[in-house]
């Protein structure tokens, strides 16, 4: 079923990760903006994020960012360079690399 194919999933993941990042960004900016009156508020926010559940969510965000980057790179290559076969493998590789990087992030913070 073409709707379950690796490339269709890749495109969907790319779109959904973009949406998720778009929703996350304003919150990210608000958090960093806490530093506007000195470091105290930012510091207490950062300590709040030390919780395992938050760290887990952060590794999810790292995954989303990496997968969106790699998926976007794949599109840029398709659109600007000569056609190359093996798109399915590339898409799967992109997902795997993203998962690995997110996992490394998670492992380092614990």
């Amino acid at each position: 079923m073409h709707r379950g194919s690796a490339l269709w999933i890749a495109a969907l993941v790319h779109r959904l990760s973009g949406l998720a990042l778009a929703i996350f960004l304003p919150l990210h900016f608000l958090a960093l903006g806490l530093a506007i009156n000195g470091e105290a508020k930012l510091e207490s926010f950062l300590r709040w994020t030390d919780q395992p559940l938050v760290k887990f969510a952060e590794s999810g965000l790292v995954f989303l960012l990496t997968v969106h980057l790699l998926g976007g790179l794949r599109v840029l290559v398709i659109e600007n360079f000569d056609w190359r076969d093996g798109q399915k493998q590339l898409a799967t590789l992109a997902a795997a690399i993203s998962a690995i990087i997110a996992f490394i992030f998670l492992a380092r913070v614990f």
Binding site: A22, L32, A35, I36, L69, E79
Partner: protein
């Protein structure tokens, strides 16, 4: 308008490839155990480099996200193109404003 949006979307995407890679490195560095807000801010304070880097990143991300959101809305929601576009513009401006404020917060205040 399609070509224009396409060009801006792809151009900001290409620009952000190196910016995001650096950002991922920054994320890994900044989440090293024991890094406090003071540690982070002492590195970003008064830094033209960080201001330029993140200023550029905020601008690119705001444009890119706004166009992306517009695409998704026109395809997945019943909104008209005009409404989707207007929402996207507002969203982009919001991101740019909050982002600029964040850059200001870590570099200047």
């Amino acid at each position: 308008m399609n070509v224009r949006l396409y060009v801006w979307q792809r151009a900001t995407a290409a620009l952000m490839v190196p910016l995001v890679l650096v950002h991922i490195a920054v994320i890994f560095y900044a989440t090293r155990n024991g890094m406090t807000a003071a540690d982070i801010l002492s590195r970003t304070h008064g830094s033209i480099v960080w201001a330029s880097y993140y200023g550029l990143f905020v601008a690119a991300a705001s444009i890119h996200a706004a166009i992306g959101v517009r695409n998704v809305l026109t395809e997945w929601s019943p909104l008209t193109d005009w409404r989707a576009g207007s929402f996207a513009v507002v969203f982009g401006l919001l991101l740019a404003a909050l982002g600029a404020r964040a850059v200001f917060a870590v570099v200047l205040s």
